[in-house]
């Protein structure tokens, strides 16, 4: 097993202005990779370091993965360790549970996160609960990677953001990387973890680039990243909404509104302290998610904020900006209207600051 000592804490933040993700400290001209390449590199390094690690899923072999994430891994590690499966989500997640129980470190790719619905029994009733049900006598180390999110015209059954389902299940850990560096670093931590970890990637992020350390640098699970600091409002965002929030924050800055942007990265366990501290400082919270509003994970963050000491410091109601309560539609203009865009974040954050 590779060491876990090389960790990077993305939560540390300078006084004000943008924070450059969670890259290696002071590396001159850091190398950039796409998010998708970063995921692949994490898997390659983990497989090279530990023969127990392997990847399996539908079309992860020669095809290279539905979104090209596994790419050429099959040529580097062979068809046993980069294994194509039949279309049997419940079966393959169950097989990951069994392989993990029997001492391997499986990574299972589900082609679209929507198809975790097929596998919910093995995810929530088996993987999540076995360690506890057995009183700690066994562990289920496994990673389930799946892309979520809308924006590709794939419509209602291929565009969901289902993090709230998993975040509600004790026994699971839930990760949503929003940068290439985190895609690599969080995945490495997930692979190290002795518990089942759901890693929700985002389709629209796969092609985005960012600095990524070449070494297998872990980003610890459970640390909220402060992507930007500002004094007027705290914007908490996940997944593809992080970059939209950062873009909105730039525009808000031009309007004289100074926003912090926080990215929880791990929803379970949630580092709520960093969020609460920021909201206590700004007095305003705008919570942005792609998933439909009702019952989404931002309601949990809202509830934690108002249960915390930050409650007494609130200058405005805690406010959510979320996907509409609709299935994701096919038509591009409807799909756009169904989830928050940069303009919406600018408008809502501005309103929060100006009105209260």
């Amino acid at each position: 097993m590779t060491t876990t000592s090389e960790t990077v804490n993305g939560a540390a933040a300078p006084e004000s202005g943008p924070v450059t993700g969670s890259a290696t400290p002071a590396a001159a001209e850091p190398r950039t990779l796409t998010y998708s390449e970063a995921v692949r590199e994490a898997m390659a390094q983990a497989m090279a370091a530990d023969e127990r690690v392997f990847l399996f899923g539908e079309d992860v072999g020669t095809y290279g993965g539905a979104f090209g994430v596994s790419g050429d891994l099959v040529h580097r590690f062979g068809t046993e360790r980069v294994r194509d499966t039949p279309i049997s989500e419940l079966g393959i997640v169950g097989a990951a549970v069994g392989a993990g129980l029997a001492g391997m470190r499986p990574i299972v790719e589900i082609q679209f996160s929507d198809f975790t619905a097929q596998a919910m029994d093995q995810i929530a009733n088996q993987a999540a609960k076995i360690h506890f049900m057995l009183g700690g006598a066994a562990t289920v180390p496994m990673v389930l990677r799946a892309p979520g999110g809308s924006g590709t015209g794939a419509a209602a059954q291929h565009s969901q953001s289902l993090e709230a389902w998993f975040a509600h299940v004790p026994g699971l850990k839930v990760v949503m990387p929003s940068t290439a560096a985190d895609a690599k670093g969080l995945l490495l931590s997930a692979i190290d973890d002795p518990n089942p970890v759901i890693v929700l990637e985002h389709k629209l992020l796969y092609k985005q680039s960012g600095p990524v350390p070449e070494e297998p640098v872990r980003v610890p699970l459970g640390e909220t990243a402060v992507r930007r600091t500002g004094g007027d409002v705290t914007i908490v965002a996940t997944g593809v909404m992080v970059s939209r929030a950062l873009e909105a924050a730039e525009r808000l800055a031009a309007d004289g509104v100074s926003a912090s942007v926080l990215d929880p990265r791990t929803l379970r366990p949630l580092d709520d302290q960093t969020i609460v501290d920021s909201v206590a400082a700004t007095g305003r919270a705008l919570l942005v998610q792609e998933a439909p509003k009702t019952g989404g994970f931002m309601s949990e963050i809202a509830a934690r904020i108002v249960e915390s000491p930050a409650f007494g410091r609130l200058q405005a109601p805690v406010s959510r900006l979320c996907g509409l309560d609709v299935p994701i539609p096919y038509a591009p203009q409807l799909e756009q209207a169904a989830v928050p865009q940069v303009d919406d974040i600018v408008a809502k954050a501005g309103e929060l600051v100006r009105r209260w």
Partner: protein, 343 residues
């Protein structure tokens, strides 16, 4: 009923196959030109299966379809302009632009819907069959799915329900040899998928899926059995998709030669050869050709014109309306819209 020796039938079959081919080619083209978005799964090369199967059905019968569903929809009698409008995300589309390619349904002709979920339609078909049975109706349900779907739990459970309750369902597997990239040889440990049928106590037969007559014959027999209370059947139709699985497919998992060899078995060309009497293909073609060259030309022209007309109509239609985005998440109280009339 023969499709090859009766002129009206032959024309219908040929026109349907050409319509599917031309429709898919148009979609492929518009997609490549950026006029369509999302993803599309084309049926080019597989036209004989929906054509042969749907010609074995009567009005009122149901189908459930798949992500690769344009062919089923057309063969069951859908309006091309409403299909094309859907793909173009128009308000006049079958789903008002909400569903797109993977969710087209045409409830009026009994098409209960394409499905973005592999095997998702299989238990739904069993349920439609159950509805028919409970009403004492005489309809039949054809459930289309691919080879890949056969390994899903949903398939297993849906087929077993139909089997134990003797439901009027015909399960039609379009075995095009691949899921997305995984071949049936690697995904199954049996030679024919029809061998799966025995485990549910239902008849299973493998048929040349590039021959509409052959498909029609076995489906018709299965439909007849289902309609008369004899329960479900499984039909495996061997065919091939000429195009990649979807837009992002680089065809790394199969050879150019394999694709070529199947293109040489073009179901449309073969059918034309048979019905014009030129076919050595072995079918019981009589001395007198069923269709003349000009009949064939007529079918081709009709298909091409229909598709053109659909594109024209659809293109001119208004875009899906974002103002009504939250409509139709819930149906209003009152009578539900039944997928079919009562038996």
């Amino acid at each position: 009923m023969t499709l090859t020796t009766e002129a009206g039938r032959a024309k219908h079959a040929l026109t349907t196959m050409w319509t599917i081919r031309r429709f898919e080619e148009a979609v492929d083209d518009m997609f490549a030109r950026g006029l369509m978005h999302g993803t599309m799964h084309l049926s080019i090369g597989q036209e004989a299966v929906p054509t042969g199967a749907c010609m074995a059905l009567s009005e009122g019968d149901y189908i459930t379809s798949t992500h690769r569903g344009h062919g089923h929809c057309i063969a069951k009698g859908a309006k091309l302009d409403a299909m094309m409008a859907e793909l173009l995300a128009k308000e006049t589309g079958y789903c008002r632009g909400r569903g797109g390619s993977m969710h087209i349904a045409d409830v009026a002709t009994g098409n209960l819907g394409a499905n973005g979920i592999v095997a998702g339609g299989v238990p739904i078909a069993a349920g439609a069959g159950l509805a028919v049975r409970m009403r004492g109706g005489s309809q039949v349900v054809v459930s289309f799915f691919g080879d890949g779907a056969v390994n899903e739990g949903a398939w297993h459970e849906g087929v077993n329900l139909a089997a134990i309750w003797d439901l009027p369902v015909v399960f039609v597997c379009e075995n095009n040899r691949y899921g997305m990239s995984m071949s049936v040889d690697r995904a199954f440990n049996v030679d024919t998928l029809a061998e799966r049928a025995r485990g549910y106590g239902i008849p299973g037969v493998t048929v040349d899926g590039n021959d509409p007559q052959a498909v029609h014959d076995v489906v018709a027999e299965a439909v007849q059995r289902a309609r008369s209370g004899g329960g479900p059947s499984f039909v495996e139709a061997l065919t091939y998709r000429w195009k990649g699985h979807s837009k992002s497919d680089k065809n790394l998992y199969r050879t150019r030669e394999e694709i070529e060899s199947w293109r040489e078995r073009d179901p449309i060309a073969a059918f034309e050869a048979v019905v014009t009497g030129g076919g050595a293909a072995g079918s019981a073609s009589s001395e007198v050709p069923t269709l003349s060259e000009s009949d064939v030309e007529e079918c081709r022209t009709l298909a091409r014109d229909r598709v053109r007309e659909a594109i024209r109509t659809a293109t001119a239609a208004p875009d899906a309306d974002a103002a009504t985005l939250t409509d139709a998440v819930y149906a209003p109280a009152g009578e539900s819209i039944a997928g079919g009339t009562r038996g």
